[in-house]
């Protein structure tokens, strides 16, 4: 019921935002409500950037609500989900619409808290409680950074409205500090390495439609926050800010996908993969900053379009994949891939939709993930024209990282789909799996269809993005609507072009011709028999390749240093019939080297200061007095 209403509202909002984005000369509409701080009010503004992100948010919300009409019936305690779900959706919409610092931060916090409540739905599981704790700590840290950033932007006069901030033209150390704080604040929400630690814990803990929203949509709201501040409010970027964002993006992309490859929990794998995609988006944004600093407006527009296109794409296929994993969980009660297998027989429709999502996220033509990655590559190819040596070395290196992460992503999704949907069932639950309800399927198929459409007709998406880039970097890439055959030509026809529609048609046509010709003129008989397997078939499904054995070559090559991966085999002595044991050791070095020392230091300090709680009233008074004196002294010296 609630989901139905939410779905309708979100759909209406999507259509409205889409109309705003693509309409002729869409005016920027603003509204000021007498809410919030008395002397600021609550400003809301709908411009091109907001409308684009509104489309992303509400499309994801509509799909998730439709999915939840069916999926929500299996919820054990629906009252723990239902009140927070609409609040979460509303908060995300408000963040995107907000046009003053106060409203922005309040909505941002509202979004964090509502999603935290949704993460804690299954709070009886200690793992989920831990995920919730880490999430709330990281969210508070991020909000603190954003608060400080807005404080710096507003200045001592307190011009909290975005209009006032935009007019102030910050530069120098203030701008640097703001950018660093925004990277920390929005980056921790989006999941930039090394601030990503909460994400793979919290996203899988929530119910699947909420996981889809958190991964597919909420991280995009964080990206929106970064774009709004770095491109719109600050403006005039410096070249090294672009370099920092580029490096962070590149590292995030590769580290994220490597972590994903090591997982065997389906939802956690998807969550780590969100980290990778955020990296790709930030590569596009970093390139845009770098090009803008060099005055290459067209290149900046191309890079920004690529980044925003990936925002849209990722919201589509990541939601789709999370819905698929939710369907698997409903059908089998399992998230662990080592207990799945052969689901394509019991759940053919879910399997097909999940496969489309896997191909799209692996950046393979003719689906949409490839288009945005292709555009990022094209933007990288414009790199030699930048003036700074730092960027000249960074851009190709990041290009290599991007290519590496794309290849690793394909490996990761061969694993995800191959282990859970193909092969033989590894448990009885997987063998008994049946197809899920129609609402869930409809939602997945709509998203899969959108993935295909955005892949074969990318020109329309790019044209819709033109007003956004126009307002942010004052340039747009050429209009794609009029290019013959619906190709996309970002710079010039002799330089590069790609036509998803023709590629799709060619592949379909050749596959059909080959099939028809062979079935007509050669054999079409099919005989079923036992698998051949070089003459050594083993009836036990445990002898199949498992998720961790599939990743073994990659783990050995990349993980020996990054994860301290160590393998150990213990063989029984000769003649003994006891089983041999295989041990695998993996370390999360970011957690162990960065977070554990910080947590340790905080605990130590808290312990030290503990005795301050048990002082006499005399001592408290003297402490207050001392603090007052110190502050007055500081003020006196400052002036």
């Amino acid at each position: 019921m609630i989901y139905g209403v939410a779905c309708v509202i979100a759909l209406v909002a999507t259509v409205a935002a889409l109309a705003q984005l693509t309409g002729e000369r869409s005016p920027v509409s603003t509204i000021v409500l007498p809410l919030g701080l008395p002397w600021v009010g609550a400003h809301f503004r709908l411009d091109a950037l907001s409308s684009f992100f509104l489309v992303v948010v509400d499309l994801g919300a509509a799909a998730a609500s439709l999915y939840a009409i069916g999926y929500g019936r299996h919820e054990g305690e629906p009252l723990r989900v239902l009140p927070f779900y609409p609040a979460f959706l509303a908060a995300m919409n408000l963040v995107v619409l907000a046009s003053d610092a106060f409203t922005f931060l309040v909505s941002w916090e509202f979004m964090s808290l509502a999603s935290w409540a949704l993460v804690m739905v299954r709070h009886r599981d200690p793992d989920n409680r831990r995920a919730g704790l880490i999430y709330i700590v990281m969210a508070s840290f991020g909000a603190l950074c954003l608060l400080l950033a807005f404080g710096l932007l507003a200045g001592p006069e307190g011009g909290y409205a975005f209009e006032a901030i935009r007019a102030a033209h910050h530069a120098g150390p203030v701008a640097t500090l703001v950018l660093a704080l925004v990277l920390l604040g929005a980056g921790s929400k989006a999941g930039l390495v090394p601030l990503h630690v909460w994400l793979p814990l919290a996203h899988p803990a929530a119910p699947s439609h909420v996981s889809a929203l958190m991964s597919g949509v909420m991280t995009k709201v964080a990206v929106y926050g970064f774009i709004r501040i770095a491109f719109d409010l600050l403006g005039n970027p410096t070249w090294w800010s672009g370099m920092v964002v580029l490096i962070l993006g590149g590292i995030t992309a590769v580290v994220g996908v490597l972590y994903a490859l090591m997982q065997h929990d389906l939802k956690r794998l998807l969550a780590y993969h969100t980290v990778e995609n955020i990296g790709i988006i930030f590569i596009g944004l970093g390139l845009a900053l770098a090009f803008q600093a060099n005055g290459m407006a067209l290149a900046a527009a191309l890079a920004l379009t690529a980044g925003l296109f990936h925002v849209f794409n990722h919201s589509l296929f990541k939601s789709l994949l999370f819905f698929g994993s939710g369907a698997v969980q409903t059908a089998t009660g399992e998230r662990d891939m080592e207990h799945l297998g052969g689901l394509i027989h019991g759940m053919p429709f879910t399997g097909f939709a999940f496969l489309v999502g896997c191909v799209a996220i692996s950046a393979l033509p003719p689906l949409n993930g490839f288009v945005s990655e292709w555009m990022t590559f094209q933007a990288i190819l414009l790199g030699p024209d930048v003036a700074q040596w730092g960027l000249k070395f960074t851009i190709p290196a990041v290009g290599a990282l991007l290519a590496l992460s794309a290849a690793l992503a394909a490996a990761c999704f061969v694993k995800a789909f191959g282990i859970s949907f193909l092969g033989r069932p590894r448990t009885a639950a997987a063998e008994r799996a049946t197809e899920v309800d129609r609402f869930s399927l409809a939602s997945m198929f709509i998203l899969a269809g959108l993935c295909l459409l955005a892949g074969i007709l990318p020109g329309f998406v790019i044209d819709a993005l033109a007003p956004v880039t126009q307002s942010l970097v004052q340039a747009g890439i050429p209009v794609q609507g009029g290019v013959p055959w619906l190709s996309i030509v970002p710079i010039a026809a002799s330089r590069s072009s790609y036509n998803g529609l023709l590629v799709f048609l060619f592949i379909t046509a050749s596959a059909w011709t080959a099939t028809l010709a062979i079935h007509r003129f050669a054999s079409r008989a099919v005989r079923r028999s036992a698998p051949w397997d070089c003459g050594y078939p083993d009836a036990n499904p445990i002898t199949q390749y498992s998720a961790s054995s599939f990743a073994q070559p990659i783990r050995r090559i990349y993980g020996t240093n990054l994860f301290r991966a160590r393998e150990r085999v213990e063989m029984p002595p000769p003649g003994d019939t006891a089983p041999a044991h295989f041990y695998l050791e993996l370390h999360d070095l970011i957690w162990e080297w960065l977070y554990l020392p910080v947590t340790g230091a905080v605990c130590l300090l808290a312990d030290r200061f503990n005795h301050l709680q048990f002082l006499t009233i005399r001592r408290y008074l003297s402490l207050v007095f001392l603090a007052l004196i110190t502050l007055l002294l500081a003020l006196a010296i400052w002036d």
Partner: protein, 305 residues
């Protein structure tokens, strides 16, 4: 499009017979691959009991993706009809799609050999694909375009000259081509029961017409890489856009000559080297990746290198 389809088995047959000659065997006749394909076509397809629809669709999709990619490479003339529909990056990615589906098909029946093949193929791809992208970047930065036709025309013109980055890219491209086509020293195309096999392990469960499609796509892929190397690094004889029939004839003759030379070199190389361990492959391909990156960095640093 038809030309590459007809020539692909011929190239494979040629390489096989040269290899046999080098080993002082008579070897099968050069048209043997055609006979093999026809024989397989006539046979029933045997499927495992638990093979899914993916297993039956995959061969056609793999074939289609490889064929389209191969058809987009200029063989004897630069002005192809639809060459603008996909540039070099898209061609590489299309081969990636074919590999993705093949790796999934290898895991479909749930045998340990299929899994081993898919897992190793995925590992090899994580090196060869980025290396390939780096090579594409280098070429694109030299020619100022990722369109293969434009690149080939540029390579024909006198503006190219001898460049360090081109040399590095050529070496890297050959290494990638060897790995991608499952040739020695990375994989052995002649094996059928070996713990180190990669490509053959994935297609172990295929038979009949499905196997025809898979084999034909493998042959097409070999032809594709040879054509790619020929059209970029040895573009002599390519007929320019709108040339007369004589230019096309010269182009075709030159193309067949290039294929023969490449086949000869490949056979020579394969007979003179031993296969390497699976975990040595990353060193081999890592070198290709680094060469590609180096070539690209050189282009970023200086326009004349």
């Amino acid at each position: 499009m038809l030309l590459v389809l007809l020539l692909a088995p011929l190239l494979t047959g040629f390489v096989r017979s040269v290899k046999a000659r080098l080993l002082r065997r008579h070897g099968p006749p050069i048209i043997q691959p055609y006979r093999d394909l026809l024989r397989l076509l006539r046979k029933d397809a045997v499927l495992a009991h638990n093979a899914s629809w993916l297993f039956r669709v995959a061969p056609y999709l793999i074939f289609a993706a490889t064929w389209v990619a191969a058809a987009l490479i200029p063989t004897f003339a630069t002005g192809l009809m639809f060459s603008w529909s996909a540039d070099l990056i898209a061609i590489v990615a299309m081969l990636g799609s074919a590999r993705f589906i093949l790796a999934l098909a290898g895991m479909d029946v749930g045998t340990s050999f299929g899994g081993i093949g898919s897992s190793r193929e995925a590992m090899i791809a994580t090196f060869s694909e980025p290396a390939m992208i780096m090579i594409v970047f280098t070429l694109a930065l030299i020619a100022g375009s990722t369109e293969l036709s434009t690149v080939a025309s540029f390579m024909l013109s006198s503006a190219v000259g001898l460049r360090v980055s081109l040399g590095l890219a050529l070496v890297a491209l050959i290494m990638v081509a060897i790995a991608e086509n499952a040739r020695i020293p990375v994989d052995n195309p002649a094996t059928h029961l070996e713990l180190t096999m990669v490509h053959e392990a994935m297609v172990l469960e295929y038979s009949g017409r499905h196997l025809t499609m898979i084999e034909l796509s493998a042959m097409l892929k070999l032809l594709l890489y040879v054509s790619l190397i020929a059209c970029v690094f040895a573009p002599w004889g390519l007929a320019p856009d709108g040339a007369g029939p004589i230019a096309y004839l010269i182009g075709i003759a030159a193309y067949i000559l290039k294929l023969a030379i490449a086949g000869l070199l490949l056979a020579l190389f394969e007979t003179s080297i031993a296969k390497m361990r699976v975990f040595r492959v990353p060193d081999f391909l890592g070198a290709a990746l680094m060469l590609g990156l180096l070539a690209m960095l050189l282009r970023f640093v200086s326009r004349s290198l």
